[in-house]
């Protein structure tokens, strides 16, 4: 049996999670936890959040029977269309929730980190709609490969701040956003973009994303899927769709980035191939060396290019509540093309990882019913993928 009462009072999911944060942030984290718990128990706040999801985000997102892909792979495949949300990904479920909470706490400014740019765009969008000031930290490398999203954020009135430390990717953007917060905490709320970070972030982001699974549960009616599959970067879209199904016997599968191949060491599979440690305020599985220095991750998809993962997924893995697989850059790009051609849906490269796993496992899944969390659309990746078709290194 699963224990869905987690996290405990110290923010732990079994041995994972916690609050490993600089003292300067501890008061803000306690204030945030109290404010979130109070808001989430307040029917006025909850109905306001649902109104925004309905009228601004466009929820519920459809559950779509992917007939072409089903035929091609010999599996019954249903797509939970988070790509149809306003701004094109699941990320906005969380930013609307945290934006409303920031307003309720009287914080006039939000900051965010972003990898693929989807969370940055979703934060910038919520900030514009809710009249909040917004700054987004983004790795310099990611600004190059997700240029479209940089322009979108700027159009929305957000300042995009390049991060050049480390590899200039998501990990460094999270670190830089936290550094900003250490100095700006009195006036600023940090809208973290996934189920990562110190308590209460993993809890709060899960609660704002579980709408995906709750809707799915209703939309399925009598249909009983055998498998639910989602890609895993920090783990928010996977958490959102898994969480309401924890007590079922559905096989919950998270797909991490195997990058250039696990054996090359250039990957982002922290659950599958990492070890427990503390990254960005929580104990979780992460990529590191034997003396505890953090390794750079690698993935063609900026949103999966992260050496850690949400602590609740670490708990799920150890407790056998979900399992985590990985696919390579090459497999993901193939799946990107496949879904585009067969279904007329261009997925985000992150999302393509979930499709790629289906494609690889098709023989074993023959005749089964599978729900895929189609976490986002791929407009942002089009240039990158077109450039890659001629890249012999992939």
């Amino acid at each position: 049996m699963s224990d869905t009462s987690f996290p405990d009072a110290t923010g732990r999911f079994g041995p994972f999670g916690g609050r490993y944060a600089p003292e300067t942030l501890m008061a803000a984290l306690a204030e945030l936890e109290a404010a979130f718990r109070q808001a989430w128990a307040d029917p006025v706040f909850v109905s306001e959040y649902h109104r925004w999801l309905r009228e601004f985000v466009g929820r519920p997102s459809p559950l779509y029977e992917a007939v072409g892909l089903s035929e091609a792979l010999g599996i019954r495949i249903l797509l939970k269309r988070e790509d149809l949300n306003h701004t094109g990904a699941h990320k906005i479920n969380n930013t609307v929730g945290q934006g409303l909470l920031a307003k309720r706490m009287g914080k006039p400014r939000i900051i965010a980190e972003t990898g693929a740019g989807q969370h940055g765009v979703a934060s910038a969008t919520a900030a514009a709609a809710l009249d909040l000031e917004c700054a987004v930290y983004m790795g310099a490398k990611d600004m190059e490969r997700q240029g479209l999203n940089v322009v979108r954020m700027q159009l929305l009135g957000t300042e995009v701040i390049p991060v050049t430390s480390g590899a200039g990717t998501l990990k460094d953007a999270v670190s830089e956003a936290m550094r900003d917060w250490v100095g700006s905490v009195a006036s600023t709320h940090y809208v973290i973009g996934s189920v990562v970070g110190p308590h209460p972030f993993p809890l709060m982001v899960r609660e704002f994303q579980k709408i995906i699974g709750e809707e799915l549960s209703e939309q399925l009616g009598d249909v009983k899927p055998d498998v639910i599959v989602a890609c895993v970067g920090g783990g928010s879209n996977a958490m959102g769709i898994f969480y309401p199904f924890l007590d079922s016997d559905i096989d919950l599968v998270g797909v991490e980035a195997a990058g250039k191949g696990i054996e090359t060491g250039k990957h982002g599979a922290s659950l599958g191939h990492g070890t427990p440690g503390v990254l960005h305020g929580a104990r979780t599985y992460m990529l590191q060396d034997d003396q505890g220095q953090v390794h750079e991750a690698h993935s063609i998809s900026a949103g999966l290019d992260y050496p850690g993962v949400g602590p609740e997924h670490a708990y799920f893995q150890d407790a056998g509540l979900a399992r985590y697989e990985s696919v390579t850059d090459r497999e993901a790009v193939e799946a990107f093309h496949l879904l585009s051609r067969i279904e007329g849906i261009i997925p985000a490269l992150e999302t393509a990882h979930a499709i790629a796993w289906l494609q690889r496992e098709a023989p074993a899944l023959a005749g089964k019913t599978v729900v895929v969390n189609l976490s986002g659309r791929g407009d942002k990746d089009v240039q990158e993928v077109v450039g890659l078709s001629s890249d012999p290194g992939l």
Binding site: T10, G18, R19, Y20, A21, P22, E23, T24, L25, M26, A27, A28, S165, G166, K171, S175, M178, R179, V182, G183, S184, V185, A186, P276, G277, V278, L279, H280, G281, R283, Q288, D290, Q291, G292, Q293, V294
Partner: protein, 261 residues
């Protein structure tokens, strides 16, 4: 509680002479010259050291110490190498060395194995930037078992209830974060300094060391007037990065010790 740290603070209080504790990253300007940097600071009047072990993801650090960490790691400095350097500096200077690190390397080694190793090397204390008192008990107990002290932080955002809990955990000293924000140089003296020290003194007699954003001798003098010790980091680290040696060690020592003219 480390006896080395306890007696240092007792002596300092008795003499009314606050402790000057420079922060310096291990392994800069390069591995070979790093010990000499600490030795020079000792000659300049340092009473103890906060020796920063370079980490891949220094969350609490601003641009100067980030750059120092990156340079040290690029030059081959490691976590264990940093501990060995701390032992060597303790031996060659005779001053207490307090190691500053992030928590993950300690968890990888295992708190007890880490404490044993640190004790064998003669390290007096440990500061862990991302460990608030709620997460500190196991590590602090392991360190205490080997006679090593641990500092806990207090910040301008720390309320009275937390201050009491921090004091009750009996740290070797309280690292009072003088300013909001990460480590780095500041033009102005923090307006939080005096209020924070007053609030800590109201709940405990544990020694208070002020650090973060103290980057001129004048700021150090202000801090020394109210605290048991002063940490100067980025200002000295920047000099080592830019010039290969800390130029203002003596000026900071004089400012802290109240012997500046």
């Amino acid at each position: 509680m480390s006896t080395a740290l306890a007696s240092m603070f007792a002596t300092a209080r008795h003499a009314g002479r606050p402790v000057f504790m420079p922060f310096m990253t291990a392994g800069i300007p390069d591995q070979d010259s790093s010990p000499a940097v600490f030795e020079q600071l000792a000659a300049d009047g340092a009473d103890a050291f906060e020796l920063g072990i370079p980490y891949s993801d220094p969350l609490m650090d601003g641009p100067v110490i980030q750059a120092a960490s990156a340079r040290a790691l690029d030059g081959g400095m490691t976590f264990l190498g940093g501990l060995e350097l701390a032992g060597r500096v303790a031996g060659s200077t005779g001053k207490p060395v307090i190691v500053m690190t992030y928590v993950n390397p300690i968890l990888q080694a295992g708190p007890d194995a880490f404490a044993a190793e640190a004790a064998a090397l003669g390290i007096a204390g440990v500061i862990i930037a991302d460990v608030p008192f709620e997460e500190s008990a196991d590590i602090q107990a392991a360190l205490a078992g080997h006679g090593i002290g641990m500092a806990l932080f207090a910040a301008p955002t720390t309320d009275e209830q937390r201050l009491r809990a921090i004091a009750e955990a009996q740290p070797s000293f309280i690292y009072a974060v003088a300013d909001l924000g990460v480590t780095g140089r500041r033009q102005e003296t923090s307006r939080h300094l005096e209020g924070l020290v007053r609030r800590i003194r109201a709940v405990t007699s544990v020694p208070i060391v002020l650090g973060v954003g103290i980057s001129t001798p004048a700021q150090a003098e202000t801090a020394a007037a109210i605290a048991d010790g002063v940490i100067v980091g980025s200002a000295l680290v920047a000099e080592v990065l830019e010039e290969g040696a800390p130029r203002s060690g003596a000026a900071f020592a004089a400012a802290v010790h109240g012997t500046a003219r």
